[in-house]
């Protein structure tokens, strides 16, 4: 599988990273060299092997379904680049 320049633009869009037009070619080259190196995994016979979901076999911890924290809206927005009245401010999203 080879990554072309259109794929770089599509992946960058999915990843929400603005890529300058003059770096698309370089990125395609870098991604291809990494993916090409990864392709050696195709040598491995994985038929009948379950994918690993947890390295340590433990039962998922459960806790009581009750409120333990909250009403911290001032704390939650304290690091926001833009906030007003305990709300995060973003550019207009609905016309």
């Amino acid at each position: 599988m080879s990554v072309d320049q259109a794929t770089v633009r599509r992946v960058a869009r999915l990843a929400r990273i603005k890529v300058k037009e003059d770096s698309v070619e370089r990125l395609a080259g870098e991604l291809n060299s990494i993916l090409h190196w990864i392709e050696q995994l195709n040598e491995v016979d994985v038929s009948g092997v379950e994918p690993l979901t947890s390295v340590v076999t433990v039962k998922m911890k459960m806790r009581k379904d009750e409120v333990t924290d909250g009403h911290n809206s001032k704390v939650a927005v304290s690091n926001a680049p833009a906030a007003e009245d305990d709300y995060f401010l973003v550019p207009k999203v609905i016309e």
């Binding site: 990273i17 060299s33 990864i38 995994l41 390295v55 340590v56 304290s78 690091n79």
Partner: protein, 488 residues
């Protein structure tokens, strides 16, 4: 009083308890050393006021005969750990100005035990790197130099600031994290001891996430005993991390000095790559010989899927990173770069905030998780992970611990490795341990022809950190300690 900084934690805690010197004196000695060592760029933020205040509180406790296991011990904290009200940015521009309103569990445990915070330590951006060259705050310099050379060398990564600070004696010990080798490789590059405990031993709560199924915190320290003292305090059972395992934390120090007579040490055949440098080969053989002379039994084992661990890691880790790093969008914290609409604001913020390596990994992760590729890449990599873990599960019926080199080479110079895949190969001996969730320790075991430290790695069974400390101490006893000659 600067001699105080030459003491290990084990030595200094006795002096503090006997009131031979105060915690404030000790902290001041470190703060003055830090000032003199700024050329190393190990600290990105120094917190002298906070340090003196904490040391004063420690002195009050010590005067009353009270105090925790780390009372008055000055530590450096990797920038990946959330510290309340103090710069926490994972050395990324995207977290510009972020000061968390909460404290990570690991650092909370250290303060509970009386430790003193000296400052935040440099690292590769979001812990993605093997040389500390991806930090937004610039390269860290290794206190070690080649014989008769003034060339600056990297301290390894991603915990490069932690390793450099420990080696330069500008902290008594440091916190670090390890996703593919980020504690053990810098330890090997700086002649220090670093342990990545079993996945689930240290809480990940409040540690900026890179790849959640691989990330583990651990200490970097000057010797094996100090690493054991540090891990005892850092490890805990934590309800805030569902992967924190509900097992009591043993007194790791007790394992040090125990005889290794009869211990079965595995030497994995597959680690003997054709390209292995002769000095690494010699180091490894000599390490095995040291253990044999102390009564251990050396057993050849096979871990057939070793060579696939690194390429599989470069699917799993970027995939998890692309998901974890989706939260940095310029809305809730950190850097915001305006755009014509909200999507362009996200894109502009992330383009300006993430460095080249982080962007590369997010893109690889996004690609392997994208529609049509998920089974071919991610599911296949997780199947290979099952095979890697199975290799170890089978080895544990024959051996108690596995001995390997820690790194394929000693420290190199900044800019020497520019190809991403070549850089990734630094973790070739360490990454299997993360993929299988096992504990691994790096211990200094010799010097290269150029006079640079080299390390050996010991891999243990899940939650058997005690055998790692016991065996590492046996190596250390013969190898001795390594201290960089002071030039700064």
């Amino acid at each position: 009083m600067n001699d105080l900084t030459s003491l290990t934690i084990a030595a200094v805690r006795g002096g503090l308890r006997r009131r031979e010197f105060s915690a404030v004196e000790l902290t001041n000695a470190y703060l003055s050393n830090m000032e003199g060592a700024r050329i190393l760029n190990a600290y990105i933020v120094e917190t002298p006021d906070k340090a003196r205040e904490m040391a004063k509180a420690s002195d009050a406790k010590l005067a009353k005969g009270e105090g925790g296991a780390l009372e008055g011990i000055p530590l450096g904290i990797k920038d990946l750990f959330a510290t309340r009200g103090i710069h926490t940015q994972a050395c990324s521009h995207i977290l510009d100005g972020f000061k968390p309103e909460y404290e990570s569990t690991v650092t909370s445990n250290l303060w509970r035990d009386g430790a003193v915070m000296l400052g935040k330590l440099n690292m590769d951006e979001f812990a993605m790197g093997s040389s500390n060259e991806t930090s937004y705050y610039g390269n860290v310099i290794n206190p070690w130099r080649r014989n008769n050379s003034n060339t600056a060398l990297v301290p390894g990564g991603s915990s490069g600031g932690s390793a450099s600070a420990v080696a330069a004696h500008i902290c008594a010990a440091a916190t670090a994290t390890d996703t593919g080798g980020s504690i053990r490789q810098p330890a090997a590059f700086t002649g220090t001891v670093g342990i990545k405990p079993t996945y689930g031993r240290c809480s990940r709560w409040g540690v900026v996430a890179f790849a959640s199924s691989l990330d583990q915190a651990g200490p970097l320290a000057r010797d094996v005993r100090d690493a054991a003292i540090m891990l005892k305090s850092m490890a805990s059972v934590d309800d805030k991390d569902t992967t924190s395992v509900d097992l009591p934390v043993p007194d790791y120090e007790k394992a040090i000095g125990k005889s290794i007579k009869g211990l079965r040490v595995g030497i994995p055949y597959e680690y003997k790559s054709d390209g292995m440098s002769p000095e690494i080969q010699v180091l490894w053989v000599r390490g095995a010989q040291w253990l044999k002379e102390q009564g251990a039994e050396i057993i050849e084992i096979s871990l057939p899927h070793t060579r696939y661990a690194l390429p599989a890691y470069y699917i799993v880790a970027p995939a998890e990173a692309s998901s974890n790093l989706a939260r940095y969008d310029g809305v809730r914290y950190g850097l915001r770069v305006p755009g014509s609409d909200i999507v362009e604001m996200y894109e502009n913020s992330r383009a300006a905030g993430f460095g080249a390596e982080v962007q590369r990994r997010i893109m690889i992760g996004t690609y392997v998780l994208s529609a049509g590729y998920y089974d071919a890449y991610y599911v296949r990599a997780q199947k290979i992970r099952t095979l890697i873990k199975r290799d170890f599960d089978q080895a544990w019926s024959k051996v108690d611990v596995v001995l390997t080199p820690a790194t394929p080479s000693p420290a190199f110079a900044p800019g020497e490795i520019s190809d991403p895949v070549q850089m990734y190969l630094n973790d070739i001996f360490t990454v299997t341990v993360n993929m299988a969730g096992l504990p691994g320790i790096a211990v200094p075991a010799g010097l290269s022809e150029d006079g640079l430290p080299l390390g050996l790695q010991l891999i243990g069974k899940p939650f058997d950190e005690e055998t790692l400390f016991q065996t590492a101490a046996a190596i250390e006893q013969v190898a001795g300690g390594y201290k960089a000659p002071k030039w700064w």
